[in-house]
């Protein structure tokens, strides 16, 4: 892999790792300063990091990129390489900026006496660090690692109220779906590194042309997109996001609308230079995005829970950004600048990314306030809150109108740009756009109408209409000031960006677009976002959205039956549940097939494996050899001993009484020690004699307590036949191995070393003893340890009975 010049822990590394460091101290702080809300201690970190990242805006805006490398596993090309360009910087600012607001909000949202704050903030910091690592890594494997860390911390945060069944369900669902995508993404990364021989994203971008012709290119594209789509909740993988709303609202605002779910978008944007040559990339991203937009906004309208509406709305907005990135990919196919109208789609994507974070963040926080102060988020119970919560009402209006695409808010600007891009897509001369291209603006328009409808539902059903105090758990009142500050800041940003969009254009958007489309040098384009384009088709589309949307809102009761067209059991959620239940049943079934719980079954597996594996090896390797020569001479008494052992071993099978079995076993043991004498092993013979005597004594001691040998008649013939076959197999294999090992002497014994050195090195004449206590002294020590453990076990077993006995006495 490529040589890197910088090898140090840069400030960027520290910025990524700082949340992890701080997280280590949170439990301690929580214990020590229990009277102060832990959130106050955490709050300073995102603020400091935000200021730190703003410092880069100017530098990155000039086209300079920060990078640093830290060796991790250099031999595999895996290094902790960080790289900050416009896109990474934009995400870092979002992560730390929204993070600071969310933490401030959470201080008032989570009660310090009732909630386990230390775990909450540890998870949140874990997420913040991983997300920063994700957007700043240049190495694909490191990126993957942080990617999975975000999935894990999201899982922990969704399951924060783990005593609720729905929380656990949502946490599991999100983990299963996002980790499934993450794994497939890892596969795509590995394929990509096969093709490009590097894990560095920047180096991969350099070889775009060569990669596109590789046979693995399509496979890696599909695998990586699966990862991006699951993470960013694209249809049909969006089903985890509504269930993730079981998390505390600050988490929903932070992870599940502003940052984590945009990781998929980040990945698509980041890898656009690598893949955008392919028409498959365009078609998949643009169509998945637009389908998600329509389906998400259509589903949002029927929800009754405020957070569920916001969740489906997030899905649909993510789809919108995704489709814009798809359209933007077309820009790479046009060399000349004047034709390059498709670049505008990328600008719109980046702009809407920021806008979405602001208005959706403020809406989530407002929904959290409503939930916190009334005790419910059900819009059927809410209504007429305008007079009780005027500030929250204002925030919601600003957020919802921006989401609906109404002027003068920032959502209007990006929505107009979105329409422009979708209309322009139809004019494309590549990718067979003339066939299906016309669907893009139509679907975009339909999706926007539903977006308008649910935005109105959020505002009007919650804050206007009849006030129903009897359905609320608490008497509603305005939230405390600290809880209002974060959404007020976000809502002000919605207005500021709405009036002065060009504040963002040159500072943040241009560098980010330059990072997504590196083919265009930054000097080549100047982004100017304007409010008024004249009487264009986009303006008529917006007017149409407002007219039709209002009409649909008013006539909601007349057409809501369309939601019953698709029966509930065909819904994606039911399919997911059925799939999960099926897999659970299947795996239990498969496991039960071989994990029977009978020790005999497991022994059969072991013996069968023994026979088959050794038999096949003997046969395949042609290892069996039979050589009668070079054997030791056979004496008569040796034959007698052999015959005694063999007959005893067979007779013991038919022994009916315990005593006979024990005596035969003892006899075999003594015969074996006789063999040891004959085979020049006096130490073995001595040990065997002693041990055999003790064993027989032990057997006889237990004799009265041991059960009778169960009559063999209880066992069926087939059972015994099976056993006999397996045992004959084992016996034959072992005999063959013994014969082969005698006949094949592949190498010289290593024992000569011991024979030569026993006296010089260890000063002992008994070589066996020297090996045991000196050369292999550690083995012997472990052997003694094993004996000690066995002795302790025996002792404990006998003591256990005494303990039980006393317990019984007490009970009596």
């Amino acid at each position: 892999m490529e040589f890197r010049e910088v090898e140090y822990m840069s400030s960027l590394h520290w910025a990524i790792l700082s949340p992890f460091f701080i997280a280590c101290f949170i439990p301690l702080v929580y214990k020590q300063f229990h009277r102060v809300h832990t959130g106050w201690f955490v709050l300073f970190l995102p603020i400091v990091l935000f200021i730190y990242f703003t410092g880069f805006i100017h530098e990155v805006g000039d086209g300079r990129h920060l990078s640093a490398s830290l060796g991790w596993i250099p031999s595999l090309g895996i290094n902790f390489d960080v790289y900050a360009d416009g896109l990474s910087l934009l995400f870092s600012l979002l992560i730390t900026g929204i993070g600071a607001l969310v933490i401030l909000y959470s201080i008032y949202y989570l009660d310090k006496d009732k909630e386990k704050l230390h775990t909450f903030y540890v998870y949140l910091l874990l997420f913040m660090g991983s997300m920063l690592g994700l957007v700043l890594s240049d190495n694909l494997i490191v990126l993957y690692m942080f990617w999975e860390f975000t999935s894990l911390s999201s899982f922990l945060l969704i399951g924060y109220w783990y005593h609720r069944e729905r929380s656990r369900y949502g946490a599991q669902k999100s983990l299963l779906i996002t980790v499934l995508g993450g794994l497939s993404m890892l596969g795509g990364f590995v394929l990509l590194s096969f093709m490009g021989d590097t894990y560095s994203i920047r180096e991969l971008m350099g070889q775009t042309g060569e990669l596109a012709t590789d046979p693995l290119f399509t496979a890696s594209l599909l695998l990586i997109l699966l990862g991006a789509f699951t993470k960013s909740a694209q249809f049909p993988f969006h089903i985890w996001l509504p269930d993730a709303m079981e998390a505390p609202t600050p988490v929903s605002a932070y992870l599940h609308s502003a940052t984590m779910v945009k990781a998929g978008i980040y990945l698509v944007a980041r890898l656009s230079p690598v893949f955008a040559e392919s028409s498959l990339w365009f078609w998949l991203i643009a169509s998945a995005g637009i389908l998600t937009l329509v389906w998400g906004s259509y589903s949002a309208v029927k929800q009754t829970d405020l957070k569920a509406i916001l969740a489906y709305s997030t899905i649909s907005q993510l789809g919108m950004i995704m489709s814009l990135l798809g359209a933007g990919a077309a820009a790479l196919h046009y060399e000349s600048m004047d034709k390059n109208i498709y670049m505008a789609a990328t600008v719109a994507a980046v702009f809407h990314l920021i806008n979405h974070a602001t208005f959706k963040g403020s809406l989530f926080m407002a929904a959290g306030i409503v939930d916190h102060e009334t005790g419910t988020r059900d819009i059927r119970k809410l209504g007429g809150l305008m007079n009780f919560m005027p500030i929250t009402f204002t925030i919601t209006i600003i957020g919802a109108f921006s989401m609906a695409g109404l002027p003068p808010f920032n959502g209007f600007l990006s929505k107009e740009m979105f329409f422009t891009s979708m209309v322009r897509v139809t004019e494309m001369e590549i990718f067979n756009m003339e066939t299906w291209g016309v669907l893009f603006p139509v679907l975009a328009w339909v999706g926007s109408i539903f977006t308008f409808v649910y935005s109105m539902i959020i505002v009007l059903k919650t804050f206007t209409g009849k006030f129903k105090p009897e359905k609320l758990e608490k008497k509603p009142h305005e939230a405390p000031l600290g809880m209002l500050i974060p959404p007020v800041i976000l809502a002000s940003l919605v207005i500021i960006f709405g009036f002065f969009p060009n504040l963002l254009a040159s500072t943040v958007i241009e560098p980010a677009v330059a990072a997504i489309q590196p083919g265009l040098s930054q000097k080549q384009f100047q982004i100017h976002i304007s409010h008024w384009h004249g009487f264009t088709i986009e303006l008529y589309m917006t007017l149409g959205v407002i007219l039709l949307g209002s009409l649909l809102y008013i006539t909601w009761d007349k057409w809501k039956c369309v939601y019953h067209i698709i029966p509930g059991r065909l819904s994606l959620n039911r399919m997911y549940d059925a799939l999960l239940a099926g897999m659970e049943r299947g795996s239990i079934g498969v496991t039960k097939l071989f994990m029977t719980g009978y020790i005999r079954t497991y022994l059969v597996y072991i013996f069968l494996f023994f026979i088959v594996s050794l038999g096949i090896t003997l046969w395949r390797e042609d290892a069996f050899a039979f050589d009668v020569g070079n054997t030791a001479p056979v004496r008569l008494y040796e034959v007698i001993i052999s015959v005694i052992i063999a007959t005893s071993a067979i007779v013991i099978l038919f022994a009916k009484s315990r005593l006979t079995s024990i005596i035969i076993l003892g006899a075999i043991g003594y015969m074996v020690s006789l063999f040891f004498v004959l085979f020049r092993a006096p130490d073995l013979a001595l040990t065997q004699l002693v041990i055999e005597t003790i064993s027989v004594a032990l057997f006889l001691l237990c004799f009265y307590h041991l059960p009778k040998l169960s009559s063999r008649k209880e066992e069926r013939v087939a059972f015994r036949l099976n056993n006999a076959l397996i045992s004959i197999g084992v016996g034959v294999i072992v005999a063959l191995i013994a014969l082969s090992s005698h006949s094949n002497k592949l190498f010289e014994s290593i024992s000569n070393y011991y024979i030569e050195n026993a006296y010089e090195e260890a000063g002992g004449k008994n070589i066996v003893n020297v090996i045991l206590v000196d050369f292999r002294g550690l083995d012997t020590m472990f052997e003694i340890t094993v004996l000690g453990i066995a002795a302790l076990g025996i002792f404990a077993l006998i003591k256990l009975r005494l303990a039980r006995g006393t317990l019984k006495d007490e009970n009596e």
């Binding site: 009978y598 020790i599 030791a632 001479p633 056979v634 074996v672 084992v730 005698h742 024979i755 052997e783």
Partner: protein, 113 residues
């Protein structure tokens, strides 16, 4: 002699396996005992039989038989004694507590059944 030993070892392994596959705990224990005898003889046979004198330096002139298998077997004998005795006590206690030595009746119940 090695060929005779190979047959003896095969028979020891065969009846050890048969005993271990039966349902009674005592027969399983006897089976493990037989198996360890077989394994010890196997290791010894693999090293070659009677190819020299007792491995005691100075007692007789070399060559000596291979001392390494003997050292290994010595360890194995002691360990198998430990295993057998622990096994015996477990069997004894099981029988006392549960009144059976039939392995099928001792099968654990899965908690989620």
């Amino acid at each position: 002699m090695e060929i005779v030993m190979a047959v003896v070892i095969g028979i020891l392994f065969m009846s050890a396996t048969y005993l271990m596959l039966s349902k009674s705990i005592l027969r399983i224990i006897i089976g493990t005992g037989l198996l360890s005898h077989g394994a010890h003889l196997l290791i010894l046979t693999m090293g070659g039989l009677k190819r020299g004198s007792v491995p005691l330096l100075g007692e007789s002139a070399g060559p000596y038989v291979d001392p390494l298998p003997q050292a290994l077997i010595l360890t194995a004998i002691v360990i198998s004694f430990g295993v057998t005795s622990l096994f015996l006590v477990v069997a004894y206690r099981t029988y006392q507590e549960l009144g059976t030595d039939n392995m099928d009746k001792l099968r654990g119940k899965e908690s989620n059944e």
